[in-house]
């Protein structure tokens, strides 16, 4: 079943007539060269941006007709730089609750840390003392606070070393299987896309060149994609 559908979506000269869909409870990766519009596309999914033309549907309903706050609670997003607020690990984990004047229990916070294999880190530790990899994992754990149905990941492993990259990949795949969330994941690393994807979107210069089962990336007849997979400049 398709959970999200793009219908002729264009935005500010960055996206051009994007039409495609995402299957529920699958991992779809966005691949393509820099400047392809991947982040712009991702931000449309939880309403951080809106199309100038075309429509986006979530569970069959036009995003324009959905309460944006409720939508964003269901669609979690982890940003490339893992932005954190000043304070402790707990302050950051409880942020998705705190913004609604609610609280997160210490037990749940500990479970979230366990989920991302950070149970050794105390909740009252200052966020500034954490490494890049730990912050990435906190950022992922934080997106699970509101138990999202869809998880948007924007190059979350781009600044990490290889061992950590593999750890995060295993983590996302495990969480996706356990929580049955739909994952939409931007990556510039084609090998990573091959390892984790069920489906794939290949974007270039704001156009969706091809999408579907991830196997197309190595089987396609499309010259642009073949050039890209060979590491040649587009």
């Amino acid at each position: 079943m398709n959970i999200i559908e793009f219908n002729n979506v264009s935005h500010g000269g960055i996206l051009h007539n994007i039409t495609g869909h995402f299957r529920e409870s699958r991992i779809t990766t966005f691949v393509g060269p820099s400047g392809a519009g991947k982040t712009t596309c991702l931000k449309h999914i939880n309403g951080l941006l809106s199309p100038d033309a075309g429509e986006i549907y979530y569970r069959g309903e036009n995003l324009e007709n959905i309460d944006i706050i409720e939508l964003r609670k269901e669609i979690g997003m982890a940003f490339q730089s893992s932005p954190m607020i000043a304070g402790t690990v707990f302050d950051n984990l409880s942020l998705p609750r705190e913004i609604f004047g609610d609280t997160l229990s210490k037990e749940r916070a500990k479970r979230l840390l366990e989920m991302v294999d950070l149970d050794a880190i105390p909740l009252n530790q200052n966020i500034k003392s954490l490494s890049g990899g730990e912050r990435s994992r906190i950022s992922i754990a934080r997106t699970f606070v509101n138990r999202p149905k869809v998880l948007l990941l924007d190059e979350i492993t781009s600044s990490l070393d290889y061992t950590l990259v593999k750890e995060i990949e295993r983590l996302i795949v495990r969480l996706q299987r356990e929580e049955k969330v739909t994952v939409i994941w931007i990556t510039h690393d084609l090998d990573q896309a091959r390892r984790v994807s069920d489906d794939m979107w290949f974007l270039r210069s704001g156009e969706l060149i091809e999408f579907g089962d991830a196997s197309f990336i190595d089987e396609t007849e499309n010259n642009e994609i073949r050039q890209f997979t060979r590491g040649e400049a587009l």
Binding site: N46, G47, I68, E70, R72, K73, P83, I99, N146
Partner: protein
């Protein structure tokens, strides 16, 4: 002071002018322009004030205050570039702070309703509000540019714009208020404040000069709080659209 005595005080301009020529600082043109402008502007204001004081009519007082507010707004606009409608926000803030201050000062009889009292005090209120608005906008824009990812993060979680911007807004308000508060803590210890010094030079009783200075200090504290809070709360919604999206600062 006579004009002849004032002319002699130009020696204090000649010294920096000599220094800049000697050290090739390239500031001589600016020093001359600044000196000529200050002489012309202050003399014009002196003659206008003489006219307004002698006329002693509310219309002239209001016109004088509006002129000051207009000039102060003009000065702040440049720093507010990137925030649509900032001109009117600053203009409205200056009017609101000036009106409230005068309502309290005149309403409670803290100062007499004479142009000699109202206009200089209004000048200080408006001038301080202008400086505070400049400080606030500088810091606020800097905060917004540095925190854009955190702002989007909170929005992406379903947070409303006022929550997403809260930290940047508070930080900018604090930063713009701190110099005023810190300045007041050392007031009288490090230097005698300008107005008090002026009154003492003019022959006023030092205790009376102190009381006037205290009044001004309290007004400045109020200006600092009101100007940054009002400009801040009017400006931040312009950084978001109706779909609760962050549109950021908009430069042409």
């Amino acid at each position: 002071m006579t004009f002849a005595q004032l002319s002699l005080s130009l020696i204090f301009v000649a010294i920096p002018l000599g220094l800049t020529l000697w050290l090739k600082l390239g500031l001589e043109k600016d020093i001359i322009i600044a000196t000529v402008r200050s002489i012309v502007q202050l003399l014009i204001i002196g003659y206008i004030l003489t006219f307004v004081f002698e006329a002693d009519h509310p219309v002239y007082i209001v016109l004088m205050i509006m002129l000051m507010i207009g000039a102060a707004t003009q000065n702040v606009i440049k720093k507010g570039s990137g925030i649509p409608g900032i001109t009117w926000m600053v203009f409205f803030t200056l009017i609101a702070v000036e009106s409230l201050s005068m309502l309290i000062l005149l309403g409670f009889g803290i100062i007499p309703d004479e142009p000699e009292q109202i206009i200089p005090i209004s000048g200080m209120i408006i001038g301080n509000c202008m400086v505070l608005s400049l400080l606030f906008l500088n810091k606020f824009k800097d905060e917004v540019e540095r925190s854009d990812e955190t702002i989007e993060l909170i929005l992406s979680m379903g947070g409303k714009p006022e929550i997403a911007i809260r930290k940047s807004l508070r930080s900018a308000i604090q930063t713009s208020m701190i110099p005023t508060i810190e300045g007041q803590k050392t007031m009288g210890l490090v230097q005698l404040p300008g107005m008090m010094s002026g009154l003492i030079i003019g022959g006023a009783d030092p205790i009376e000069a102190v009381m006037y200075q205290l009044l001004i200090l309290f007004l400045i504290l109020n200006n600092a709080a009101m100007a940054s809070v009002m400009v801040g709360y009017m400006a931040y919604p312009k950084l978001f659209n109706k779909k609760l999206q962050f549109v950021g600062l908009k430069y042409d």
